[in-house]
């Protein structure tokens, strides 16, 4: 399988076999990501990291990943300091970054920005989130987290909870989980339901996701509970927001109904949807999940930049 110079824009650009290959290779990266082993397979490579929108985890883990492989990172974390402010087009910024580096990572507030970038760059482009669009490396790290804990994706009962309508991560995750044969249950407030197109995509892979509103019932036989943030702005008034947040809060009480080996995931930042009390329980996997961003991005960078196989 050849990934050299491939763009990483949407998880849908990858076949099942390719996703499995990346996830397998990610396993090899873990001790390097932890700093237990050392390598410089990307010693001569430069990554251009263009964050037109603030990000903590994604940006830091990309930088960490590149550094752990012996490569270098240039770029910006704050668009206010760039020439975009002066009205430069994204296309021109990309052309420039392309000539300064061997690969480009881009986070941008507008959907399609990463796809557009590929038209103006010779070097491979990695999408680190485009508005409410795609975030393929988040999707891969979520898959990797489930695999490390549950051995495989297939057959696992996975509950996606929260804002399933606007949530950036849940759409591609639902797609990828269906592709890999998980059983899906969607739990969300009525106004934030999973869009029909996403449900139809799941069905194309023979997955019949169930949608229920009662969280307790959904959690009962779940293997994975994937929680997402519900944003205040989505609601007409504070009262309605508070009601919904209360209904879908993950706390110790709820977990009395859960299987012993349930894992709870969250793309972070977490606000009120998971009670901090849960952090201490063996269910809480979200911090480990955040760490997994490093080995996943290491695997991708090294495959795409043609680093020596580890």
């Amino acid at each position: 399988m050849d990934f050299k110079n491939r763009d990483v824009i949407s998880i849908k650009d990858f076949s099942k076999e390719e996703i499995n290959y990346i996830l397998n290779y990610t396993k090899k990266m873990v001790p390097y990501a932890k700093g237990e082993k050392h390598t410089d397979i990307l010693r001569e490579k430069i990554l251009s990291s263009l964050f037109f929108e603030p990000s903590t985890r994604t940006r830091l883990s990309f930088e960490s990943a590149m550094n752990r492989l012996g490569g270098r990172v240039i770029g910006f974390a704050d668009p206010s300091a760039t020439s975009q402010k002066k009205g430069e087009s994204l296309a021109d910024t990309i052309r420039m970054a392309d000539s300064y580096a061997d690969a480009i990572v881009i986070r941008h507030p507008q959907e399609g920005a990463a796809r557009l970038s590929t038209e103006f760059a010779e070097s491979p482009v990695l999408n680190a989130g485009d508005g409410a669009g795609q975030h393929p490396t988040q999707c891969l790290l979520d898959l990797f987290t489930i695999i490390t804990e549950r051995k495989k994706i297939k057959g696992n009962k996975i509950v996606l909870l929260g804002d399933l309508k606007y949530g950036r991560t849940v759409h591609s995750l639902a797609y990828a989980l269906s592709l890999l044969g998980a059983e899906l249950t969607f739990v969300s407030p009525e106004s934030l339901k999973m869009p029909k197109e996403v449900i139809n995509e799941c069905k194309e892979f023979g997955v019949e996701p169930s949608s229920i509103s009662n969280l307790e019932r959904a959690v009962k036989d779940a293997d994975v509970l994937y929680v997402t943030r519900i944003q205040k702005e989505r609601f007409p008034d504070a009262e309605e927001y508070n009601r919904v947040v209360g209904m879908y809060k993950v706390d110790i009480d709820l977990l009395k109904h859960a299987k012993e080996d349930l894992i709870i995931m969250h793309p972070l930042p977490r606000v009120v949807e998971i009670d901090p009390e849960v952090d201490k329980t063996p269910y809480a996997l979200y911090f480990k999940q955040a760490f997994n961003g490093v080995p996943v991005r290491m695997a991708l960078l090294s495959l795409i930049l043609g680093g020596k196989k580890l």
Binding site: S89, G112, R115, L116, E197
Partner: protein, 150 residues
Amino acid sequence: MKKLKITPIKNGTVIDHITPGFAVKVLHVLKIPESTSSVVSVAINVKSRIGKKDIVKVENRELDTKEVDKIALIAPKATINIIRDFEVVEKHKVQLPDEIVGIVKCSNPTCISNAKEPVKSRFLLVSDDPPSIKCYYCERETEDIAERII
């Protein structure tokens, strides 16, 4: 003699089998009357063997493919008939290409294709009839295609 509901034309294009009620939108797509000084006649809700249809008749103008593609977005069952010397010399059913470039504006206001970037709008065909297209950039399906023709 054939019985014609609208008067015959010598040369031009007849767009037949337009979804009833969509003739005016077809005119908009073809930028009629702004783009032409030809005589154009419109028939709305004409009875045909298979229910109703609209017809547009443009004199002295043979439509090119790009214009035909645009029509397919709003009237997927339409046929284009080229008339020369009162006879139908060419007839084809409109057909959407797999990729629709530079014709429709993405309905997503925050799509990068709506920003000031040096690219044309680009859509992939999801289904023919009813027409459904998905933005190549933001991956969203666009609603109200008829209103979003550039």
